[in-house]
Point group: C2
Chain length 354, copies 2
DNA sequence: AAGAAATATGCAAACGTTTGCATTTAAAAT
DNA sequence: ATTTTAAATGCAAACGTTTGCATATTTCTT
C-alpha cells in the first residue's frame, strides 16, 4: 500500500494514452511538444502527485545534479561561511550540495573522495586536510573530466583550478603592522608546514622582518595544529624565560585568544607590554577585550568565487582543454586594540551591516 | 576518450568470462559466491579502476544512501554544531548528507523538501524556518514512509518524530536565576511566536515570574527576529524612558552581546546596574567582557540523538507502525559575569577540555 | 557408483528516465 | 487535390545495478 503509490511518468502516459517519451518531453518543456499536451501532462502530473526521480534521470544522463564539497570541519568559522555561500549559490542553479568533512584526517579525505565519485557528483570543491600532501585520490575526477576546484588549503603542483587567499601578503602585512607598532621581537605561532597556508604566512613573516632589518630567529617560530590546548602549551614555553617577545603573530584567532588569556594570567598587558595578532577575523576576535587585530580573508568572496568557478566549469563542454588558473582572494588587515594601544571605548556599531 | 574509460561490472564480467550477476554478488560479498571468485573479481575491479555507480544501484534498490538535512543556516553556531555531529555520525554508517539551508525562508524550505524528495533521500532531518507553521510540504515523506525527524525548531501537532531542547525549562531557569540575583523588572527579548522555541521560552519566563510573585508586564516582552540590528533598535526603545529594567533575558546570544554594547554606550554597568542573559551558549558569550550567562543547549548531544533516531528509523521495516515519540534534550544554565557580580579575574582555563 | 544435498554461477527482468530515429498528423504550398 | 514541409508523437534502446529463479557444478551420503 505504500510502494504502490509512487507514480512515474509511465502512469501519466497511461492515464492520458500518450507515450512515455512524450510525457518526458512535455515535463521538460521540449519545444516540439504542443502547448496543449504540455498542459495536459503537467496537470495530470500534479493530479497524480508525480515526483521526478533524480536517480533515474541521473543514471540516464550521467549527471547527478549534485556537487561535492569537502572541508576539514563545517563548524569552523571560515569554512562554515564559505560553505554557506557556496550552498546558496549552487542551490539557485539547481544543484544539490553534498557537504562532507574530513575532520582533518587524511584517511577520511580519501574515503570521501571515493564515495563522492561513486555518487557521481557533477563537480567537486575541496579544501584539504592540514596533512594532505599527496593528492592522487582526486585523480579520478581529473581523469574523467569532472570539474575540480580547490580552495583555501590547496595542493602544490597538482594541475587543478585553485582559489586561495593571499596568505603571503597576510603574513607580511600583519608582521609589518606589528613592526610599525614598535615590535622588535616577534614570535610567530604557525600551523604545520604541510599546509600551504602556513608556508606562505611564514614566508610573509620572514619577508617583513627582512624588510625592516630585524634578525630572523628560527626558534621564534612554533609549528603545531592551532588548537587551544597547543596554544596554551606554547605560551608556557614562550614565557618560561625572558626576554619575553614584544609581539606575537598567531596564525589563527583561537590561538590569539588563548594568548590573551595566558597574558592575563601572568599579568602581561596587551597591547602595552606585548602586542598580539590573529588570523581569519573570527567573530570572537572583534568581541573579546582587548579586541584582536586580525586578517580578514573575505570568506564570502571566496565562497562566491568557488561557486562561480564550479558553475563555469560545469558549463563548458567536457572536451575543453583545461587551464589551471589560480585565483587569489585579497586579504584585509583589521587593526584592533590588541595592537593599537589602550582599549578605546567601543564606538557604536550596532546599526552597521552586522 | 574520456567516457570510454568508465568501467562497469559488465567490463569486469567480460574480462573474467563471468556473468554480471556473479560479479555484482562478488563485489557485495554475497555468501554463495566462492572465495576464489570474489578474489578474482575484486582484483580485476581494482585493476580496471572500477568505481561503483551509486545512482544505478540506488535506482534498482530504491534507496540512495543519502540523507537530507534542512536547517535555517549552516553557519550559525547551534545548527552548525549539530550538523557537524550528524554528518560525522552518518558518514560512519555509510550515508551521505545533503545539507541544505532554508535561510529562514518558508518558500525555500518548500523547494528544498521538493528537491530532496526527488533525490529520493532515504531519510530527512529538519529544523524549520522561524515562520513555518504549515508543514504539509513534508507530507510526501510521511506518506511514503520515509524516516522524518524534526529537531530544535519543530512542528506543533504534526505527527512526526521530534527531538527538541527543553526551552520551557531554559526560559524558566534563566529567569529564575535573574530573580535570584535580585532582578525585579525583567525584560524579555524574544523571537517570533511562530516558532516553538520562543513560545516555550516565553512560557518559562512567565512561569518564573509567577512563582516569585513578580507581576507580569506584557509590554516588557519584545518579539522580532533576533538580529543585531533589531536588538539595537529594541535597546533604544527600552532605554528611551525610565525606569530602566534591572535584568534582560535575551533569547539568543547575539542579542545579549548587542545589549552589552548598548549598555556600554549609555554607561550602564553590567551586572551592577543591569543583568543580562543570553541563550545558546555561543562561543562569543564566554569570551566577551563581561562574559555572558547563557543556556547551553547541548548541541552535540542533540546531533547525536538526531543521527541515532535517523539510523534507528532506517533500520526498521517500512511497514512498522509509527509512533511519534518526542525526545527532550536537557539544558544547562551557564552562569557568568553578566549576572554574577563584578567581573572576576578569569581563572585559568586553557588546559581544560577547550 | 548413483542419487541427494549443497554450493556456485547464469539468465533476464526490473528500477524510472531520456533521446535518436522513425512515424504519424497537421499545415502550407502548389 | 496533391505534393512538400513542418510539427507532434511514438518506439525502443540505453544508463549500471540488483535479484528471483533456474541451471550447472561440486561435495557428500549411502
Amino acid at each position: 500500500m505504500s510502494k504502490r503509490t509512487e507514480k512515474t511518468i509511465v502512469d501519466i502516459a497511461e492515464e492520458l494514452s500518450l507515450s512515455v517519451s512524450t510525457v518526458s518531453r512535455a515535463l521538460n518543456d521540449n519545444p516540439n511538444i504542443s502547448a496543449r499536451t504540455k498542459e495536459r501532462v503537467k496537470k495530470m502530473a500534479r493530479k497524480l502527485g508525480y515526483r521526478p526521480n533524480t536517480m533515474a534521470a541521473g543514471l540516464r544522463n550521467n549527471k547527478s545534479k549534485t556537487i561535492g564539497l569537502v572541508v576539514p570541519r563545517i563548524s569552523m568559522f571560515f569554512p562554515a561561511t564559505i560553505s554557506t555561500v557556496i550552498q546558496n549559490k549552487l542551490q539557485e542553479h539547481g544543484y544539490n550540495l553534498l557537504i562532507c568533512q574530513s575532520n582533518d584526517s587524511y584517511e577520511q579525505e580519501i574515503a570521501l573522495a571515493d564515495t563522492l565519485y561513486s555518487a557521481r557528483v557533477d563537480a567537486l570543491a575541496v579544501s584539504t586536510t592540514l596533512y594532505t600532501t599527496d593528492f592522487s585520490h582526486f585523480d579520478v575526477f581529473n581523469d574523467n573530466n569532472i570539474p575540480l576546484v580547490f580552495f583555501d588549503r590547496v595542493p602544490k603542483d597538482y594541475g587543478v583550478k585553485v582559489i586561495k587567499g593571499d596568505d603571503y601578503l597576510g603574513g607580511f602585512t600583519v608582521t609589518q603592522h606589528l613592526i610599525e607598532k614598535g615590535c622588535k621581537d616577534i614570535v610567530h605561532i604557525s600551523g604545520p608546514l604541510t599546509c600551504n597556508l602556513y608556508v606562505e604566512r611564514v614566508a610573509g613573516y620572514k619577508s617583513a622582518l627582512r624588510k625592516y632589518k630585524i634578525p630572523f630567529n628560527k626558534s621564534r617560530i612554533f609549528y603545531h595544529e592551532l588548537t587551544r590546548e597547543n596554544a596554551w602549551q606554547t605560551c608556557e614555553k614562550i614565557f618560561a624565560q625572558k626576554p619575553y617577545p614584544d609581539g606575537i603573530f598567531a596564525a589563527n584567532d583561537t590561538t590569539a585568544i588563548t594568548i590573551l588569556e595566558y597574558c592575563r594570567k601572568i599579568n602581561l598587558r596587551v597591547p602595552e607590554d606585548i602586542k598580539v595578532t590573529g588570523y581569519s577575523n573570527d567573530p570572537r576576535a572583534e568581541i573579546i577585550t582587548p579586541s584582536i587585530t586580525s586578517v580578514d580573508q573575505c570568506p564570502a568572496m571566496m565562497g562566491e568565487r568557488v561557486a562561480a568557478a564550479l558553475l563555469a566549469l560545469l558549463q563548458q563542454p567536457k572536451s575543453t582543454p583545461k587551464k589551471y588558473s589560480e585565483e587569489i582572494i585579497p586579504i584585509k588587515l583589521i587593526t584592533r586594540a590588541s595592537t593599537e594601544g589602550p582599549d578605546v571605548v567601543l564606538k557604536k556599531q550596532g546599526k552597521g551591516k552586522g
